[in-house]
Subunit: 261 residues, 2 copies
């Protein structure tokens, strides 16, 4: 097996290469990719050729560099508007942003990581990590923990296995045990805190977005700074956040089965 185990078949490898190109923020040369991939030269070459031919990558003939292709941009639009909760949640996020004046995050779970799918900036914006389209750790963010807490056992297990438990701040829950205890507490409380566990000075209150059958669809959070507010104040908003999460869930579900008649 290679670096990561899960490259099943040619398709897996091709997608792996796609990810590699995506992860560099700029066009990359063949040899750069060759250096970090552990595919043989010829294999990598053919994969790149196929992807380029398919429009998933673009080869700039002048510089000999590969970049993500337009076909992905096209898929992007489709992905955004159908797979994620974003389009449904949009008006609710606006509402929540208006009500709280704080930063709002909408996230979904991506193989044990948190994917931020939409975001509203605070009235007075603050620099912080999360951005729409970015991924972050699950074990030390509000939205991440909110989702983990409601995952079914096997899914939780799979997600836990992918956590690095890196200690970002003194408050980070940097062990499986600490996290499990916290998840228990979250289930009882109904919402998750982030007590400066990922970034110093950043706190948040997050709730899961659950389907009627209890499946985790995503999470919603209100984020602020210790300079501006306290956990208690944020907690006062929890019922409203939960309420909005419920509305999003309801609408997302009715969306899923139209045209059935």
């Amino acid at each position: 097996m290679g670096a990561e185990g899960h490259a099943d078949g040619t398709v897996g490898k091709a997608l792996d290469v796609l990810d590699m190109v995506a992860s560099h923020g700029r066009p990359v040369r063949f040899s750069d990719l060759l250096a970090e991939a552990d595919y043989p030269k010829a294999t990598l070459y053919r994969l790149l050729q196929t992807l380029t031919h398919q429009g998933m990558l673009t080869l700039d003939p002048d510089t000999g560099t590969y970049a993500l292709g337009v076909r992905l941009v096209r898929l992007a639009h489709a992905a955004w508007s159908q797979s994620s909760l974003a389009p449904i949640a949009r008006p609710y996020l606006d509402e929540l942003a208006r009500e709280t004046g704080e930063t709002i995050h909408l996230a979904q779970m991506d193989l044990g990581q948190v994917l931020y799918v939409d975001k509203r900036n605070a009235a007075k914006p603050v620099e912080m990590f999360a951005q729409a389209g970015k991924v972050g750790p699950a074990y030390c963010t509000g939205v991440g923990k909110a989702m983990l807490a409601y995952l079914p056992p096997e899914a939780l297990e799979a997600a836990l296995a992918r956590q690095s438990f890196h200690r970002f701040t003194p408050h980070t829950l940097a062990s499986r045990e600490a996290l499990l205890t916290e998840l228990q507490a979250i289930r009882q409380r109904g919402h998750a805190w982030d007590r400066e566990e990922h970034e110093a000075g950043i706190i948040c209150c997050a709730v899961p977005i659950l389907s009627r059958q209890g499946r985790v669809m995503g999470a919603l959070s209100v984020t602020s700074t210790t300079a501006r507010t306290t956990l208690e104040d944020l907690g006062a908003q929890a019922p409203m956040i939960r309420d909005i999460a419920a509305k999003i869930a309801a609408e997302a579900e009715s969306w899923r089965f139209p045209e059935q008649v």
Copy 2:
């Protein structure tokens, strides 16, 4: 539409399936896909399984439907922010929208079709076809013709081969010859018109976005309606549009090779 020829290898087929899922605006069932794909049952099944396993699709276990997955959303975001001109062009589009008060389109070429990568709505919006993330025909849109006009011979040939030359309106240039003559005129004039060639009542003025080496990176257009303005009035804006296109090109290029020194 249907069986496109160019599905090279397994990767091609898998991506083809991805597109199929994307093209439905909602989660699809296996059998729906089976009906429109001309892959045998087992093959389609395995492709879907692979894609799902890879996180490019999600299988909703409750409804047995496939939707685009989070990994795709992540890639899509990366594609948007690095491959496309959109992030660079954003402030310029805002400026142009403010100046003209009309609808602005930013497009790139995607295998002979036009891909709208960003858009600004007119002060008084009008219903029209184009939308960010959508694709449209190249031979009968302003941005399409602006790009075609500056394509190198082989690329132009490849693009022409993919045009359907469907006559959308009485003004559509519905033949290869008519289009070639028009492209010639566009090169001389420096910008392209859309004289209600795609949608009745919709006119536009478009300019290509060219790299220093003359490579076509995209196109920019200002669109309006015959009810509101005339080609002449739109034409008066051409210098400004061209100016902004040049700025975008310049910035896009400086973006492409940093860290090199």
